[in-house]
Symmetry: C2
Subunit: 290 residues, 2 copies
């Protein structure tokens, strides 16, 4: 087995993590969290999203969070599900945007209220405008292995979305095991095949730890040549539209695993432990995950 | 990544699992557990041990458990730490014995009250007599990666014990991450090197899940050609002589992982889930591990 010398950890705690926690976290607490992430050495975070506060009340402070990231010079990603959100992102000088489309039609309809094709068509417009404004585009494929409504998702459906993203110029493509049902064999096979299909595309792995297999899946992804991973402090997160899904793989766990294996993450373990404790306190969860 | 078509799961719940749980389990309950293991398709278990009841009171019913295994025709292993124990094993027609020696001198002194060399010398006598009686010999190397007292254990120390076991005719050698501090890179490297050093020896991997890396370690061991794994229902176990160590990797988790990957274990998932619930009830642990 060959392993890379270093890996990028993209911490998604402030957005994907907190958005899916039942506890409402204040803007001040979020800023504290982002500062801790910066202090421990995280170079890029998913900070917030431009969605309607009625749909996701946790993200109502998006503009304040964006301004804070600019202030502390933290590189960040903002979820922009439509053109209106993108316009805001442009106005507030967001350096990186993210969009997501499910590989499962049912999940897409329930989550985004659009068919896959409708979502992809919106993405075409978003990508074009983002490119005109030199914004980095992160494109997620949700439910890339299994869907709580449709069961196993065939590889062709994943490719359908990935191919569209690539053709329209995504800067990186995130393959998400949104409900945490993947296993190391399928992870290896799919990432390997995706990299063969698109040799010049940057792929990121996004695992949830529903079955406790997330670390094993990371090992498999590393073998397929993946060296960028999403994670959240203390395994924050879940997915309100994905019954039974638990949180993201924990940043603290992934970093410990990789550092134990002499793979550099650039993250300082002591500061990370402090940040993890802070996160658990923030969501009143001193026991359990992560 | 290449994976084997099938894997043997050796369930160590009745001995290594229960011995290290604070709850005293009755002989009747143990028999129920063993029956469940048989029903779910486990072909070999670590049933009990011949140690003094004052040291390990949970194993005082060794003879009754052995007779029960004979009765239901379950293949089983009994821990026999010395020649007196071996004599008993011979008397009660035990098909497979196990011995263990730590790769760490400090652990060995604290656990067995002997130096490594003294332990190995006792093993020489045990192996000889076992072989005269056609008993299968399973030889454990405890603390094969790290030791709670000595820290990292160098590979030479592991080889010192393994080489002795092999030279004296062990039928299988179990490499134990007794305190659960291994990571996939060292697991792969050590198993690969051991298999190159002793191409005809059968190696078994024995992981504890202290850091949540046990499944990832199993993936690495599979890549090194290992296809036999110890585990316990609901992750029973720990090690009273190994501060901070948690239970064995859970049988239910390993089987789910492998079956998801289309690797056959011969274990029936439904019956396994029932056995897992029974086990948790037995030790009053309905939440948590496994």
């Amino acid at each position: 087995m060959l392993f890379p010398k270093q890996v990028e950890i993209i911490d998604v705690s402030p957005r994907d993590g907190l958005q899916n926690e039942p506890v409402q976290v204040t803007t001040e607490e979020k800023k504290k969290l982002i500062l801790r992430l910066q202090k421990m050495g995280v170079k890029r975070i998913e900070a917030t999203s431009f969605v309607h506060p009625k749909v996701v009340p946790q993200m109502a402070d998006a503009i304040e969070i964006i301004q804070f990231c600019h202030e502390i010079e933290m590189n960040f990603i903002v979820l922009t599900p439509n053109l209106i959100a993108l316009e805001k992102a442009i106005d507030f000088k967001v350096p990186q945007i993210a969009v997501f489309v499910g590989a499962s039609e049912t999940f897409n309809m329930r989550n985004i209220k659009r068919t896959i094709d409708e979502s992809l068509s919106e993405c075409t417009k978003i990508f074009q405008k983002a490119k005109e404004n030199a914004i980095f585009i992160r494109a997620y494929v949700s439910m890339s292995f299994n869907c709580p409504f449709e069961g196993n998702i065939c590889f062709e459906k994943v490719c359908y979305v990935v191919d569209h993203f690539v053709a329209n110029g995504a800067d990186e493509v995130v393959i998400g095991d949104t409900n945490g049902q993947a296993n190391p064999r399928i992870v290896y096979d799919r990432f390997k095949a995706l990299k063969e299909r698109h040799p010049y595309v940057v792929f990121v792995a996004h695992f949830h730890d529903t079955n406790g297999f997330a670390f094993a899946n990371i090992i498999a992804a590393l073998q397929a040549g993946i060296d960028k991973f999403d994670s959240s402090l203390a395994g924050l997160g879940g997915c309100p539209f994905s019954p039974g899904a638990t949180g993201n793989v924990s940043t603290n766990g992934v970093v410990q695993l990789l550092e134990d294996m002499n793979i550099q993450t650039g993250i300082e373990i002591g500061a990370m432990k402090d940040a993890t404790i802070l996160t658990k306190k923030m969501i009143n969860k001193l026991e359990g995950r992560g």
